[in-house]
Amino acid sequence: MAKKRDGIVLTEEQRRRRRNRSIALAFVLAALALLFYVVTIVKLGSQVMNRPI
């Protein structure tokens, strides 16, 4: 038997907005990760591989 849910139940519109925000945030985080990677390569160049094991 399904358990009754307490609290606020989101409408379809609210779910859509939350999903859109989540997708936008995911894109921003992915873009930031890519940017940090590229900037690291640009700034360090071949030195990026030069580190003690």
Partner: protein, 308 residues
């Protein structure tokens, strides 16, 4: 659109329960994208005209940080001014007064973006540029928004410094220093700001008065504002040609800046002379042309650089 009736809860929804249901567009609106586009463009020109060879990826990163920092300042401005925005038709649809974003959410959003943009610019490009960006955000959000805007009719004159700094930040990002050239670009935007905003303020005087914002037309009257617009335009028109006169822009820029300055001056003169409905038309023309003026001036600098 109010979301309150659509909540399928048996309890009466509290305001806090409605928080966080803004659309992505509302968060973009908090960044004042139109202001941001001008900031990005003037910063791009600052980067392009600066000597040195900043790697394109780092140049992009610098522009991104400047854009996000400007957006953060705009967001903090909207957070602080939500009460004023709610009283003016031009701004009452903004996310906070419209209730789509809670003030606390906007504050957190603005602070996070401000810190992130400054730290990222400092770590990846230049500490001086990062310090200038931090100062710009502080100047706009605290000095202009919290202190000057509601206290003095010189609010947009002094506050205009924040809007004029992006080319200087970009120059610092490219060179690690503040050159005379970037300071000339700063002065052009600085002296452009008062006639641009006062032309709008003359048209929106009643709204500013209702909101309690002491814009110059509200405090000193229309005639004094028209005279001030003319004075700043008389300074701006020759100042626009300074890059050519000082030798860091070419003849084509000098001719374009001279011609645009004369048109600007003619429109400012029309604002100064006309009264009644004709004065409103003159203000609208000056306001619209002022945006085009700054865009074309900086575009000419950019094109000259690209051609060279």
């Amino acid at each position: 659109m109010s979301l309150a009736p659509s909540l399928a809860s048996s309890r009466a929804p509290r305001a806090a329960e409605l928080a966080g249901f803004a659309d992505v567009g509302d968060y973009v609106a908090l960044l004042k994208p139109r202001v941001m586009s001008l900031v990005v463009f003037t910063a791009l020109v600052g980067l392009a005209r600066a000597p040195g060879d900043l790697h394109p990826v780092l140049a992009f990163t610098a522009l991104l940080c400047i854009a996000v920092g400007a957006g953060a300042a705009g967001c903090l401005n909207m957070w602080w001014d939500a009460d004023i925005d709610a009283r003016m038709t031009r701004t009452m649809g903004r996310p906070i007064p419209a209730g789509r974003v809670q003030p606390g959410e906007a504050l957190a959003f603005g602070l996070v973006l401000a810190v992130a943009s400054v730290v990222m610019l400092g770590l990846t490009v230049s500490l001086l540029a990062a310090a200038l960006l931090a100062f710009t955000i502080f100047f706009y959000a605290v000095i202009y928004t919290m202190w000057l805007k509601r206290r003095t009719p010189q609010n947009i004159v002094i506050g205009g410094a924040a809007g004029a700094l992006p080319p200087v930040i970009a120059w610092a990002a490219a060179t690690g220093s503040i050159g005379v050239e970037s300071l000339v670009l700063f002065l052009i935007v600085f002296f452009w700001t008062p006639p641009h905003f006062w032309a709008l303020a003359l048209l929106r005087k009643d709204e500013y008065a209702r909101a309690g914002v002491p814009m110059l037309p509200v405090v000193a009257g229309d005639d004094a504002t028209r005279t001030q617009i003319l004075i700043y335009s008389l300074i701006l028109a020759p100042l626009g040609t300074a890059p050519a006169l000082l030798g860091f822009a070419g003849l084509a820029y000098g001719i374009a800046a001279g011609a645009l300055g004369l048109v600007f001056l003619a429109l400012a003169l029309a604002v100064w002379r006309r009264r009644g409905a004709a004065a409103d038309t003159a203000c609208r023309r000056l306001f619209a042309f002022s945006i085009l003026y700054l865009f074309l001036l900086f575009a000419a600098l950019l094109v000259e650089r690209l051609v060279a």
